[in-house]
């Protein structure tokens, strides 16, 4: 059996491609099944939510759970908190990382490589292994149990700096030189020439940060105590605990609501999500 035969669509080749398709479709069912179950169960009445068989098609949808979730818990507050935290971190990191990434790529200053080396070293250290000192610092700044506890420590990022630096590194130096001859200041060269060209990298960084901080559970669990400061993931887990198994459809309505912004963003900016996954690899 030669590969030429397969390329030409020989019988064996066609058979194996068919098998491949079946495997892919099965995998798609496994990937989508739980999400579909979550969505359709959120549209069943609380009374029948946990009765089997599940309903895979919402033929008789009951949207009551979506209003119930707002009445039974302050999910509106969770939504607002998550939005504030995520938006502030995304904006903050975009500013700090674009500036520092640009400096490490384009500007000469003493100690540049040493400082960048320290940044690279901190990138290797997982958050969970340093959470105790971070907690102590956050506490000493009086930030515990406030959204600032989540936002302020996340305003700078070694990874974000690295990502932006890699992007600026591939830009031609000549553009800046030309602008300099025309009398542009250092900041103008950055803002008017290079920062504008960095839009795709900024989008990738923003999407990565949105995904990470919108979904974050660990730091909220540690830094937040009162319900009115909870973000969505923490609030939903609390909601699951409070309501027990009685009205899982209400909990699932909350889960679906929490996913809506991510899905919407994915629909419009899928490219940058994919970019974000491959961003770290140096290839």
């Amino acid at each position: 059996m030669s590969s030429q035969m397969i390329l030409n669509g020989g019988i064996a080749g066609r058979f194996w491609r068919g098998v491949g398709l079946v495997v892919l479709l099965l995998a798609a069912v496994v990937a989508l099944g739980p999400l579909l179950w979550t969505f359709t169960t959120s549209l069943r009445t609380p009374a029948e939510a946990f009765t089997n068989p599940p309903k895979w098609l919402p033929t008789n949808p009951d949207f009551g759970n979506y209003s119930a979730v707002f009445q039974q818990v302050p999910i509106g507050t969770f939504l607002i908190n998550s939005t504030i935290v995520t938006v502030l971190i995304v904006i903050g990191q975009t500013i700090t990382c674009t500036l520092s990434g640009y400096a490490f790529a384009m500007i000469r200053f003493p100690g540049r490589n040493a400082i960048f080396g320290v940044f690279l070293a901190t990138m290797m250290v997982p958050l969970q292994t340093i959470i105790i000192p971070v907690f102590v610092i956050v506490k000493s700044l009086g930030l515990t149990d406030s959204l600032g506890a989540l936002v302020i420590p996340a305003l700078g990022s070694a990874f974000g700096t690295f990502l932006m630096r890699q992007y600026f590194m591939q830009m031609p130096l000549e553009l800046g030189e030309a602008a300099r001859i025309d009398g542009a200041s250092q900041f103008q060269i950055f803002a008017m020439v290079y920062a504008r060209m960095a839009a795709p990298a900024v989008a990738t960084l923003a999407i990565l940060n949105f995904s990470a901080f919108w979904a974050e559970f660990y730091r909220p669990l540690i830094f937040l105590q009162s319900q009115d400061t909870f973000t969505l993931p923490l609030g939903l887990v609390g909601l699951q605990g409070n309501l027990g198994t009685g009205s899982i459809s209400v909990v699932l309505a909350g889960v679906v609501l929490a996913m809506v912004p991510s899905v919407l963003l994915f629909v419009f900016a899928q490219r940058y999500f994919i970019e974000g996954v491959t961003a770290g690899s140096f290839r």
Partner: protein
């Protein structure tokens, strides 16, 4: 594929000289001004990274040698915390659990991710590729907390939809989250289910960017699809496989959300990971020194496993 270029060495940049060839003093002044601007614009990132990453890194290691209950001042205890870890069965077994779960998650994530990537790569129609790529990425859009919630319901022993379908085809109910091995396997599957999209997307990108001349040459030499896959394609994407393995492993070794939410580390301590023990020690029992020592050990384990992967990769990873 990626818009992010490979890193260029900082030293490769040509020295900036004034185009007009002005006197040296002017160049030096310009250089000083440029350096000042550099320091100014790195300062926000440096400040935040120094205060919230670098300082905690050092403090975490330092705290490992202290006993601290947060209320009274820390007391230096030398290596006591580390001696205690070695004798503390709960902590030692949590490291074992962490390694077991992480290994399981990474293996499933790599094998399934690679398999699906190869199959999707064979599809000819772009619409099919887009459909599968979107589908396998979707679980990543949910938070781990949300996944833990709905999977907890689905894998419920009595009411869960999984056992319902098992019963429907005549199989007995499985204690997914309420037996030792059930909980271990279920958490591996649930974590891998969500994370497969990550390795999958990386592998698809790598496979798509393979040079066609090499594949054509393999076909000319009479290599079948299986030989082409194992003899050409996989060796060529081995750097990506290494990178995906390292990243997936670092994440899996910090596993917290799924066992914390679905099993509370149980049944018993079956799914109590190192990060859960750290959380309990630090934030429930307020033993900050001891918890820091556990964190330091975890960090050393993570760095050691990462290093081992790079060492092992010298044997099998193939760099063009």
């Amino acid at each position: 594929m990626s818009t992010l270029a490979p890193p260029r060495s900082g030293n490769a940049r040509p020295l900036r000289t004034d185009p007009g060839g002005r006197p040296r003093r002017g160049t030096r002044r310009l250089a000083r001004r440029e350096a000042g601007f550099g320091f100014l614009i790195i300062s926000p990132a440096v400040l935040f990274v120094a205060v919230f990453t670098l300082a905690p890194m050092i403090a975490s290691v330092a705290l490992s040698f202290f006993s601290w209950d947060v209320i009274t001042p820390p007391r230096f205890v030398g290596l006591d915390n580390f001696e205690r870890i070695v004798r503390d069965d709960a902590v030692v077994s949590s490291f074992g659990t962490t390694l077991l779960l992480a290994f399981g998650i990474v293996v499933v994530q790599l094998v399934v991710g690679l398999g699906l990537a190869v199959l999707v790569n064979q599809r000819r129609r772009p619409a099919a590729k887009t459909f599968f790529r979107t589908t396998f990425y979707l679980p990543l859009l949910a938070s781990t907390a949300a996944v833990s919630i709905f999977m907890g319901y689905m894998f419920d022993m009595k009411f869960g939809v999984i056992n319902y379908y098992l019963n429907a085809v005549g199989l007995p109910s499985v204690p997914w989250l309420t037996s030792t091995w059930g909980a271990i396997v279920t958490i591996i599957l649930i974590a891998a289910w969500q994370q497969v999209g990550f390795t999958f997307v990386m592998f698809v990108a790598a496979l798509t960017s393979l040079p066609t001349d090499v594949l054509e040459a393999a076909a000319m030499d009479g290599a079948g699809p299986v030989r082409t896959l194992f003899g050409v394609k996989i060796p060529l994407i081995s750097p990506t496989i290494l990178f995906a393995t390292v990243v997936a492993m670092i994440n899996a070794l910090q596993l917290f959300d799924q066992p914390f939410i679905m099993t509370k580390g149980g049944p018993g301590t079956a799914t109590t990971t190192a990060t859960i023990v750290m959380y309990q020690t630090g934030f429930q029992n307020l033993q900050f020194g001891y918890a820091s020592a556990i964190a330091s050990v975890l960090l050393v384990i993570i760095l050691a496993i990462t290093g081992l992967q790079f060492l092992a990769a010298r044997k099998w990873a193939f760099y063009r």
